[in-house]
Amino acid sequence: MNKLLPFIMAGDPSLAALPQLLAEAKALGIEALEIGLPHSDPIADGPVLQAAAHRAIQRGATPLRVLEMLAGLTESPDLILFTYLNPLLQIGADRLLDLLWPTPVKALLVVDLPDSEEAEFEAKLRTAGFPMIPLLSPTTDIERAKGLLERRPDPGPGHPFAQRFAYVVARLGVTGTGDTTDLAPVRERVAALKAISDRPLAVGFGLSDSAAMAEVRAMGATPVIGSALVQALANGGGLVDILRSRMNG
């Protein structure tokens, strides 16, 4: 089982540091990593990721430059491109595919794209090997979850975790650090989801310390560390230090 799914914002602390960070993650044994493509209007993000996106944009981390920077990287975990729809839509499916091929990106997580809204765009990407990761939130009841998992299907055990997992949102609200304290509800949901699917699950939103990570692992799911990591990196912390402590337990 994948022990930890880290999230970093491309371009923060800097675009130039990105290859190094990815290489460190890979060396640490990180199998998959969510990479945020900064957007001007991150409506599902809390203050930490908003600020990180804002800094990244200020520093010139445009979608094209991020994807160009990722092109050709081999020392990297599998990447899930985590972003909002509009920048991708403006690039267009065909050009986006050209840009994605040379990168370690294996899947996309587009926060504001329900599976029905851009069917053609999404199908083109999936067919080309870039599936969209389904999100399951506290407002997603089990019936609805079934549909979501079907419509963004598991490509199967032959595929890497990055393309297979479903993302379980731990709590209502937006991304943010350390405020998901009561994990009982998400534990229940994970259990319910496991009963209907044997797809790998990642659990994120509001997890930050090793104890929370361990609890998620105990559910049989992969914990996501997002805002806490981005904040620590922005404060000058080293990726290896931050992640190592959270990988065990």
Binding site: D112, P114, T139
Partner: protein
């Protein structure tokens, strides 16, 4: 029971604008909202309740004022103003805010979240919530809080919590971002009263439905007062709820329909909020529509002297009607709007909101194009804009 799919059309026009580009957390709340909205519309008791509030609290029907002196100034034969400025709280926003507040109460929600730009929607939501005993939180950009300070005070007097949004330009776009985030966190208890015909489905349809009372009344009043329809109908467009509210009931008529966007102080990206010429299709705040954006798909900055029009996206239904040629979209600059406000003040003794002044600014153009009688949507009163008028017009 949870709704499992949308039953109303989610897309507009040949371009398929609109849709529901929402984070998963909000999908079920949006499905439930559409269901509640459909049920309410089908429920005579809701319709009676809404009608009663609109009549006895909001002050509907609003008058249709014949503005003969202003008409004469431009050689128009007739000019008729639909007086949303006379509604309770002073703008058309209350039609929608009150309707959604009633819907929220029906849905068992005890809290309301809203965003506001000019503050008129925030005040309207605050008033509706006070009246119904709902807790209300309004998100407002810091720039807008400064330029529409009286409205901040009004919301607070109504017991509403006004949360300043510092991000970005501190205007409506950022307020919507923050309101959507807040809703995602409280969607189990709170209803989000979106203030214009934008956002994810069912908001555009719902808001437009609650605003067409403007045009329905105006159409009947035109027929009653002049025994004919006007040659042109014109309204300003921020998100587009006022524009749709007035124009949609005239879609089947053989006349010209105009929406006026904020031309700001220049034609370069960032200097205006004119989405038709300046925008490309894109997705913001849950819907696909004409959007002011840079080449990266990031939302562009906007500029307008009127907070209520200072928004980078045109509501999807209005954008679709514009792209399909059913509504012509024009623009008026800051300076034109200011001048037009003075025309109305001095000719008719009516102080228009800066937003509404954008529609007034096009009157000479309509006269030049040969329209004889014009119906204009006066979306709100200008009391909130007094300090701007004072400083810009040297009063």
């Amino acid at each position: 029971m949870h709704a499992t799919e949308f039953l109303l059309p989610t897309r507009f026009g040949t371009g398929g604008l609109g849709g529901c580009y929402a984070p998963e957390t909000l999908m079920q709340p949006l499905l439930d909202l559409e269901e509640a909205f459909r049920m309410a519309l089908d429920d005579p008791s809701f319709r009676v309740e809404l009608k009663s509030e609109l009549r006895h609290f909001v002050g509907r029907p609003t008058p249709l004022t014949s503005a003969t002196r202003l008409a004469a100034k431009f050689g128009l034969q007739g000019l008729f103003l639909k007086r949303e400025d006379l509604t309770h709280t002073g703008a058309h926003k209350i039609n929608n805010a009150m309707a959604q507040a009633l819907l929220a109460r029906r849905m068992g929600k005890s809290e309301i979240i809203a965003e506001t730009g000019a503050g008129q929607h925030g005040v309207a939501a605050a008033a509706a919530c006070a009246r119904l005993g709902l807790k209300c939180t309004v998100y407002m950009g810091v720039t807008d809080m400064a330029r529409q300070a009286p409205n901040v005070a009004r919301m607070r007097l109504f017991g509403t919590k006004v949360v300043p949004v510092e991000a970005g330009q501190g205007t409506l776009k950022e307020a919507v971002n923050e309101a959507l985030r807040a809703w995602a966190a409280r969607c189990d208890k709170a209803h989000y009263i979106l203030g214009s015909a934008l956002g994810p489905h069912p908001f555009p349809t719902m808001v437009r439905t609650f605003q067409t009372v403007i045009g329905e009344e105006a159409r009947a009043q035109m027929l009653e007062q002049t025994v004919s329809l006007p040659d042109a109908v014109i309204a300003c467009a921020g998100g587009g709820s006022n524009g749709l509210g007035l124009l949609v009931p005239f879609l089947g008529d053989d006349l010209h329909r105009f929406a006026v966007e904020a031309g700001g102080h220049g034609s370069a990206l960032g200097e205006h909020a004119a989405r038709l010429d300046g925008g490309r299709l894109g997705v913001l705040h849950g819907c696909k529509t004409l959007l002011l954006q840079d080449q990266h798909g990031h939302t562009a900055e906007t500029a307008s002297i009127s907070a209520g029009l200072d928004y980078p996206a045109l509501g999807p239904e209005l954008a679709a009607l514009a792209l399909d040629g059913k509504i012509e979209v024009l623009r008026a600059s800051d300076a034109q709007a200011l001048e037009a406000a003075q025309w109305l003040c001095e000719s008719e003794g009516i102080l228009p909101a800066l937003e509404s002044s954008h529609a007034l600014a096009l009157l000479p153009e309509l006269a030049k194009r040969g329209f004889a009688t014009v119906l204009l949507g006066l979306s709100g009163r200008g009391d909130k804009d007094l300090s701007t008028y004072q400083s810009k017009l040297g009063i």
